[in-house]
């Protein structure tokens, strides 16, 4: 991208190379990256984990950790060479000229200081306010990011605010000194879609009205497409393509960009569309036609109430005054799953979907209601004793975080063998090894990785280990709790296809818990939308997504970032196929 001469870029990075010292010697994280951000422009940096997008921004801010080192290249900001600048200059620039928003807003705020004070700190540090006016300016800054009752919120501690509110405070801190450049590093990862939309629109409006430039770092191509003027695509430390947003989506030049766009679920019609053409296998015939009508699981009036924290005294005090302070996480939901069917359970964080799946999985006792599995009442056996039930092997689960769900001290083979040993009573090392290897082959995990510990595996590989462990006993019902939320889109594409193939092969039923409606569209025939412990809407996925009845479903659908160019593509392909 050649900048016109009359408009010199605000930030220019030229041939940046960053190295990290590791146990195996230096590793180049960023190689020869060049990019420019013009005044008032929003530049998106898109790439998967390990692409070096965050490292690039840390290098610009000069906040690389001790192992990292800028080897070569130039970083120029408004005529100042940041690469050669000393620490006092940099700490003067940080916060005043260049600000940064981090991924986890709660971690970015000081937990023991009121949020208002934290805004004051920045203002006073950069001499934007004196002690007398700092308070008024801080409140104004809170109002600026559309926090209601700003004067009261000034005294709030971060733990008293929701994730979205915390991110607004972080934005208020970042924008307090009217910087020229805002670097947003995955600002909405971990936030709900509706919150994501509110936060992103806030950033867009504020930066536009102040004529600020933004560098948006994200793994979500859809998000970048909706909010950025220009997009830089990075892969393994290198810039592979940079184009105007529209051009990038309509005529992606680099094969990696094409693959990335294809992997984004918005544009796909079936899950096979997510994969590159050369990897597309024919769809296997379904073992049993989906939804033959035999009910496998029936949930009736399921309720989970959490008691308020507190000792005996409070409980005695509140006796008789029932429901005061109790929290109804799941509030009377009923649904069924038939054999071989895949049902989606959608909702935002705190809606009770995880509690529901934990109750069905018998990890948690229900307060009331019944769960019938193949006609047997599951709630009859307490969760603590379900490990010995013969039904344990029929109900398995794939967890949200593939890393956290693997014991850090157990190798992949040990993790997969665990259910075989405990539930199938298998014995004999050779026999178990053979079974583990067959399972690994079924989920596409290379056999030489079986003796590795979890931290030696990549995210996709860990997901495969988790799936292999879950299907080891050939369960009839598999709950997938956001199985791809922690994965890159290209890995997500592969894992989703794997899951769908496995379902067809073994005739399993899925309860697919997700916040991502686009993924549910591809994976499930029926969908249930939950909010605040209740079911808001239920029906065939196509119907619910194309013609939602409940207002909440409409709101959810509207909040998904959908760049116009991407939608364009879909309708084009649809037309072409028709």
């Amino acid at each position: 991208m050649i900048q016109p001469l009359h408009n010199p870029p605000l930030l220019a990075v030229r041939d940046l190379c960053v190295e990290f010292a590791t146990r195996r010697g230096p590793v180049t994280a960023v190689r020869a990256v060049s990019l420019q951000v013009a005044k008032g422009e929003t530049l998106g940096v898109v790439g998967e984990s390990g692409s070096g997008k965050s490292v690039t921004s840390y290098a610009v801010m000069r906040i690389l950790d001790r192992a990292g080192r800028i080897v070569s290249g130039a970083i120029e900001f408004g005529g100042i060479n940041l690469n050669g600048a000393d620490e006092p200059t940099m700490s003067d620039l940080r916060g005043r000229e260049i600000s940064m928003i981090f991924q986890n807003p709660r971690a970015a705020l000081n937990p023991i200081r009121p949020v208002g004070k934290q805004i004051e700190d920045v203002l006073i540090r950069h001499a934007q306010a004196t002690h007398d006016q700092a308070r008024a300016k801080a409140i104004a800054a809170l109002e600026h990011v559309r926090i209601r009752h700003a004067a009261q919120r000034y005294h709030a501690y971060p733990f008293e605010l929701s994730g979205g509110m915390c991110q607004r405070v972080v934005i208020a801190i970042a924008l307090a000194c009217r910087p020229q450049l805002l670097i947003a590093d995955e600002p909405t990862t971990g936030l709900d879609v509706t919150t994501q939309r509110a936060v992103m629109e806030l950033v867009r409006d504020l930066t536009r009205s102040d004529g600020m430039s933004t560098l948006l770092i994200t793994h979500d191509l859809g998000l970048a497409g909706e909010y950025c003027d220009r997009i830089v695509v990075m892969e393994q430390g290198q810039v592979v393509e940079q184009q105007d947003t529209r051009a990038l989506f309509t005529t992606p030049a680099h094969p990696y960009t094409q693959r990335l766009i294809r992997s984004t679920p918005h544009a796909a019609r079936t899950i096979r569309d997510l994969l590159p053409e050369d990897l597309r296998l024919p769809q296997p015939p379904a073992a049993s036609p989906a939804g033959t009508g035999t009910p496998l699981l029936e949930v009736r009036n399921l309720v989970k109430v959490f008691d308020p924290p507190g000792g005996l005294l409070q409980r005695l005090k509140s006796r008789g005054k029932s429901a005061a302070g109790t929290f109804r996480a799941v509030d009377g939901i009923s649904f069924g799953i038939t054999r071989g069917e895949s049902v989606g359970l959608v909702g935002e964080s705190g809606c009770g979907k995880s509690t529901t799946s934990a109750m069905i999985m018998r990890l948690l006792d229900a307060t009331s209601g019944s769960i019938l599995f193949k006609g047997q009442e599951l709630t009859a056996v307490p969760a603590g004793e379900f490990a010995r039930s013969p039904l344990r092997r029929e109900l398995q689960m794939v967890f949200q975080d593939p890393h956290e769900s693997l014991n850090p001290r157990a190798t992949a083979a040990q993790a997969i063998a665990d259910p075989l040993l405990r539930l199938d009573g298998m014995s004999g090392a050779a026999q178990i090894r053979a079974r583990v290897e067959r399972l690994a082959a079924q989920v596409g995990l290379p056999l030489d990785l079986l003796d590795r510990l979890p931290h030696q595996l990549s995210g996709g590989q860990k997901a495969r280990v988790g799936i292999a462990r879950a299907i080891a006993t050939h369960p009839e019902l598999l709950i997938l709790d956001e199985p791809t939320a922690a994965l890159d889109v290209s890995v997500q594409a592969v894992v989703l296809n794997l899951l769908s193939d496995l379902r067809a092969e073994f005739g399993m039923s899925y309860l697919f818990v997700s916040h991502d409606l686009e993924v549910v569209r591809l994976m499930c025939k029926r969908v249930i939308v939950m909010r605040a412990g209740r079911m808001v809407e239920e029906g065939l996925t196509e119907q619910v997504l194309s013609a939602p009845e409940a207002d909440y479903t409409k709101e959810l659908l509207a909040a998904i970032p959908r760049p116009a160019h991407l939608l364009h593509r879909v309708s084009h392909t649809k037309v072409a196929r028709a």
């Binding site: 693997l406 014991n407 850090p408 665990d418 596409g444 290209s490």
Partner: protein, 300 residues
């Protein structure tokens, strides 16, 4: 492999090796990456050798009294000099290593085993057991610990066994607290839930899935405590509640030698004191190295 193209090539080099070579390579890595750890392990190895072969190494009988050689300063024949009864201080310092190590290792092992079990149960199941054990431990910690140990030894009798038990009791709350905290943060971790789904009983989960993962922080506590236990045993002997003369023990040697410092015979207290200091120093240095050794995340 469908996502092969997306995996950086770096992640896929690892020749299969046996468990022994792997752990040895890891040991070597931890040693070379941190010279202080290496020094600590070297000192520890030296102390173990001295404790094991002490009697064979000493030039003189540590208990033999020679009245004509009393209170001689360090010389070629008596490296650390002789004490008021003419015993060789060097030999006594060497011989005392075994007793001091024995007391501290067994005391720490006892409090580690009991404290970790207590804390693990309290952290995993919570409830009334947690509350009860928590308050009992608080009560123990509310006493000045050394005074408590003095009381235990004074009440139960002046034997080595009782010193070990007293030292174990005053150290127990620290292990119980670390274990409780480490277990309770892992009690509902993803891999624990997964283990429940795999049909593991609760007891099995605690013993085989959670406890091994709490080892790294426990190891730091363990090595700090070792030095402390040595000091404690020596302290008890110093005030006359513990090992009795003429047994060679660092604390008692410092106590006896202290009387002679005023009259210029400094070597009686200095050398056992220096040995004590070196032992405590070694164990304090050991902590980080031990943690790195038992932490699987540090392996590649």
């Amino acid at each position: 492999m469908a996502d092969a193209a997306f995996t950086p090539p770096l992640a896929r080099i690892s020749p299969p090796r046996s468990a022994f070579t792997r752990s040895f390579a890891h040991f070597r890595y931890v040693m070379t990456s941190n010279p202080i750890t290496f020094l600590a392990f070297l000192l520890l190895a030296g102390m173990i050798v001295i404790a094991a072969f002490g009697p064979a190494l000493v030039p003189h009988d540590p208990l033999a009294t020679l009245a004509d050689k009393a209170l001689k300063p360090p010389s070629a024949q008596h490296w650390f000099g002789t004490d008021q009864l003419g015993r060789d201080v060097f030999s006594r310092v060497i011989i005392a290593t075994r007793l001091d190590m024995l007391i501290s290792v067994s005391a720490v092992a006892m409090s580690f085993a009991c404290g970790a079990t207590l804390g693990a149960f309290a952290g995993y199941w919570g409830g009334w057991f947690d509350r009860l054990s928590g308050r009992v431990l608080d009560t123990i910690m509310a006493f000045p610990l050394f005074v408590l140990a003095m009381g235990i030894v004074a009440a139960a009798g002046n034997t080595i066994q009782n010193i070990v038990i007293a030292t174990a009791i005053i150290n127990l709350p620290f292990y119980a607290r670390v274990a409780r905290a480490e277990v309770s943060i892992r009690r509902n971790a993803g891999y624990v839930q997964a283990a429940r789904l795999s049909g593991n009983s609760e007891f099995r989960i605690l013993l085989l899935k959670i406890l091994p993962n709490t080892l790294p922080p426990m190891m730091v506590q363990l090595s700090l405590n070792m030095g402390w236990a040595i000091l404690n045993a020596a302290g008890l002997s110093f005030i006359g509640l513990g090992v009795r003369p003429p047994t060679a023990e660092w604390g008692i040697m410092v106590a006896e030698g202290a009387n002679y410092i005023v009259s210029g015979e400094w070597w009686l207290a200095l050398f056992p004191g220096a040995a004590l200091m070196l032992a405590v120093f070694t164990f304090n240095l050991l902590g980080d190295g031990l943690r790195d050794l038992v932490d699987p995340q540090r392996r590649t």
